[in-house]
C-alpha cells in the first residue's frame, strides 16, 4: 500500500495504491488523520490504483469521511475498480460517501 497527497487550492487530493487491508490500514489511517488535523476539509481520493480493499480498509475511509463531515467538510472518491466497488455496494459505503467515475466529477461536487 502507498498513499500520497497534494493540496491544490482549497482541495486536498490523495491517492491510495495497492492493498488496503489488515496489514496496511494503520499506515493509511495515520496519514489520512494527519491531513485532516492539518486543517484540510475538502478531500478528493483517487482510488484508480487501489487493487483490493477489506473491511479494515473501509474503516479508514469511513472514519476519515465521518470526521470531515463533523467538521463541515466532505470526502469524495473516484476511480474504484470492480473489487472495491463490490465492497462499497454491499456494505452501503456508496450510500454515505460520494463516489464519482472521474476526477472532474469529484471536483464538480465541491462547486
Amino acid at each position: 500500500m502507498q498513499i500520497q497527497g497534494v493540496k491544490e487550492n482549497d482541495i486536498f487530493f490523495f491517492s491510495i495504491m495497492g492493498r488496503l487491508d489488515t496489514q496496511t490500514y494503520t499506515d493509511a489511517e495515520k496519514q489520512m488523520m494527519a491531513w485532516i488535523e492539518a486543517g484540510n476539509t475538502k478531500m478528493i481520493g483517487d482510488l484508480s490504483d487501489l487493487e483490493f480493499i477489506s473491511s479494515a480498509g473501509l474503516r479508514v475511509l469511513l472514519y476519515a469521511a465521518k470526521t470531515l463531515n463533523q467538521q463541515g467538510g466532505k470526502m469524495v472518491l473516484f476511480g474504484v475498480n470492480d473489487q472495491v466497488n463490490e465492497v462499497f455496494e454491499v456494505t452501503g459505503i456508496s450510500n454515505v460517501i460520494d463516489i464519482t467515475t472521474s476526477k472532474d466529477g469529484a471536483f464538480s461536487l465541491f462547486n
Partner: protein, 139 residues
Amino acid sequence: MKSMIEFAGRLDQVSAGMRWIRAVAHSAGLPAKQVNALDLALEEIVTNIIKYGYDDEAEHMIQIDFELSSTHAQLRVMDDAKPFNPLQVEKAQTLSSLEDVKIGGLGILLVREVMDVVEYSRDGDRNVLVMKTLREPDE
C-alpha cells in the same frame, strides 16, 4: 486441485494466508472476481479469529484448506479459538447516513455477501467454517 496451509494465529501471519489463497485460486483458473472473494473472506475470518478468538497467550495454529471441484471452490478454516459461529451474528445494517455510522461490524457482512455458501460447525475443540463460491457454468 487441493491445497492446505497452516500458520500461527498472529496478525503478522495473515498475509501468508492471503498470498497463498491468491496463488492457489489463480492457478486453479478461477476468474479475478472469485479470487478476490476468497481473498477477502479469508482475510476477514482469519483476522477475526486472531483479534477476538483467543483467551490466552499460548501459540495457536490456524489451518485452512482449499478445494476446487467442477461446481465450486471451497475454503475451510479450522481454528482452536473459542466457539464462535459468525452466522449467528445479527446481520449488520448496510450504511445509510454518515452521522449514524458506527465504524466496524462490516467484516462478517462482507463474508456472507461475497460467498455463496457459508456453513459453521464445531468439531471437538475446533471451529470449522466452510465457505464456497459457485463456479460459472462457462468457466
